[in-house]
Symmetry: C2
Subunit: 209 residues, 2 copies
């Protein structure tokens, strides 16, 4: 995170102080929520991992979002004019906090102190979500697979401060994240190795340039 806001601490406080908030647990594979009703729902991952999955009219499945602890997602953050069916599915056993944006705003206008703090902290959560969305767009706008992979690896290298790092995704999930065919991606990674740009050992990558 760029800011020095204590997200964890805020969520802890939020979790126990607010009656507009629900916390539920989900087993791996269970559907956390769908984006088809219009409930203005916002969700925060307290524990576990959640994938946001799109099924288009052909039945093709794409993972369009992947959320880990402290990430924020939900219908309220999503455009309403798309006609896909979106499902948020627990990728691991997870604990999710739910509230609605509406309830948040009405409360605030009644001058409740806690909600004032919440709103201001919410903007921090939103900001960190914007940054991660911009990161993804940065990668998705690269015109070829090699560009996407290289940019992603460079970002990992910069953020870990090492030329060698472990991928936080499986290769299957990475392909989804970059929105490319997994086989084509593997082929391209192999060619990066062959061309001497990187070294690969399982899910450990070393940049050689």
């Amino acid at each position: 995170m760029d800011t020095n806001f204590d997200k964890k601490n805020f969520i802890e406080k939020f979790k126990y102080s607010c009656n507009k908030v629900q916390i539920k647990k989900f087993l791996k594979g269970e559907t956390v929520t769908t984006y088809i009703e219009k409930r203005n729902q916002i969700c925060i991952v307290l524990d576990g991992e959640v994938d946001l999955i799109r099924y288009d009219f052909n039945g093709n499945k794409t993972i369009i979002g992947h959320f880990i602890i402290d990430d924020i997602f939900g219908e309220a953050l999503y455009p309403t004019n798309t006609n896909n069916e979106l499902f948020a599915v627990a990728k691991k056993n997870s604990e999710i906090l739910f509230f609605t944006y509406d309830s948040l705003c009405t409360k605030c206008r009644r001058n409740c102190d806690f909600h004032k703090e919440l709103t201001s902290n919410l903007s921090e959560l939103f900001l960190s979500q914007i940054i991660s969305l911009n990161l993804r767009i940065e990668l998705l706008t690269k015109r070829n697979i090699r560009g996407k992979i290289q940019s992603y690896f460079e970002i990992l290298s910069k953020s870990t401060l090492h030329r060698t790092f472990t991928l936080p995704f499986s290769y299957t999930d990475l392909a989804d994240f970059l929105s490319v065919d997994r086989c084509a991606m593997m082929r391209e990674i192999k060619s990066l190795v062959d061309d001497g740009f990187i070294k690969k050992n399982g899910n450990k990558i070393t940049l050689l340039y």
Copy 2:
């Protein structure tokens, strides 16, 4: 916008009440700001249009963001670990409001009323930015050009409530927005016309299904 927050009104108020804020005018083609220093800057478009342009190490230019009136952009919203040079360039004569996220937060803790309101409204601005970023990701994650175009046209149709609509972009800019080669996109649009999916008249499109 999904929420009923009056963005325009808020920005008007903000613009004249706050000494931490700067407003500058730019002529078409001028550089509004760069994303290379780390100033935690946030910008709001009061008037005009701004493109966010990436020059990668090969000198290739990509428009990775396009901002119109009331849109919010700036370094503070962008990941720090990428190593591109980003330039925000006025696409038309523009009026831009600048402030830093830091100044905003410190002010708030000093209990300035205006800044309290600002912070809470800022989350609305952030939210609407998240929604538009998610929209773009929705399009970028489609695996081929046809899918991107069709989804985009469907969204336009839904949001205008008409089967016929005028593109808000030039075709050149649309190709940039979808991050595909312009010629390949034109070819694909032509094939959508030939296959009877759409009708095209200049920058007016009609969905036929």
